[in-house]
Symmetry: C2
Subunit: 202 residues, 2 copies
């Protein structure tokens, strides 16, 4: 389940943690990540693995669904307390989306200063960074969501989580469809988004 | 809410995400972290902040409840798929606790090899590392839980999450007490644990 982060509220986070249940994370476009100098954790880890041998031992070379982890840093807004309450996570997410717009026309140094003034890391909200060519390259949740937001002309920063089933696995597609129906939400398959993206991005 | 990770099951994770709602994380003793060469993320970030200026900008020098973040790496067991389902997170947590026992009498290199054979990072399960002197030094959730596990003669690796209220904040203490009563769980205050720890650790 997913929402444009600019519209994230405490109620949104509550719904995600109660009815979704997966890790609640931010999905951002590569352009925004570049502007804010957000690295891929796997690159950062690789760069410092000589000093921290555990990073070599734990190298993520066998992710079953991907060639590379899209995780970047975990952040908290500096005005949060623990960082994990519904109030705190929605503030972190909404302000991250707003800030992404605010820094767009700033030079890189000013953008980074503004980012650091409001946010700290480590924190409780993981950021995943979309592949640069979006759905033309990688077709993970992050790319699907960022593409959708671009097509909708919203800030390309999404908040979401995987929905969990009661059987220890991810929620079955049919049940996710039913949930959307029951809660007046839109159900979209990856295939539908990719189809629209192909037309839109031509 | 918290459980000794050696007893974590898919059902445990389900209860934590449905009834708890905070970030589900591992809490481990400093001895285990040292054996597995697990760093504090804030140290790692500080060591590489010249190459990644964003880490300098986001430096966590204003955590309202602490002087230093206790976050270490985020891991997944290598036999997980997304890493976030109840099956996946319980496997990561239970095997981490078991491995902590298995490496105890190994030399450091063999311990690290075994760790890397089973786990990867980045992942979906954050590890927090307790202060070395436990409750004599810091009195966060991590120290409270690790102390409790030591007193109970269990592997000092705990799984837990903060409980959320319906008002956007943490669950009020009285409501947490009522939840424990309704679900036949034990409610313990930090004060009680610290009191017992003082007697036990003499």
């Amino acid at each position: 389940m997913v929402i444009a982060s600019q519209y994230a509220t405490p109620e949104t986070i509550k719904t995600m943690r109660k009815d979704g249940g997966g890790l609640i994370f931010l999905m951002v476009s590569k352009e925004i990540a570049d502007k804010l100098k957000l690295p891929f954790l796997s690159d950062l880890y690789s760069d410092i693995s000589n000093r921290y041998p555990v990073l070599k031992a734990l190298v993520p070379n066998d992710i079953p669904y991907d060639t590379k982890s899209s995780f970047s840093l975990y952040i908290n807004h500096r005005q949060t307390f623990t960082g994990v309450t519904d109030n705190d996570r929605s503030l972190t997410m909404r302000r991250f989306a707003e800030l992404s717009e605010e820094v767009e026309n700033l030079d890189d140094d000013s953008a980074l200063t503004l980012f650091g003034k409001e946010f700290r890391s480590p924190g409780h909200v993981p950021i995943c960074v979309a592949s640069e060519q979006l759905l033309n390259k990688r077709r993970g949740h992050t790319e699907l969501v960022v593409s959708l937001l671009k097509m909708a002309n919203l800030t390309p920063v999404g908040s979401g989580c995987e929905m969990m089933g009661d059987d220890g696995k991810s929620l079955h597609k049919d049940k996710a469809k039913q949930y959307a129906l029951d809660h007046n939400l839109v159900f979209l398959s990856g295939k539908e988004i990719i189809g629209e993206w192909k037309k839109w991005s031509k």
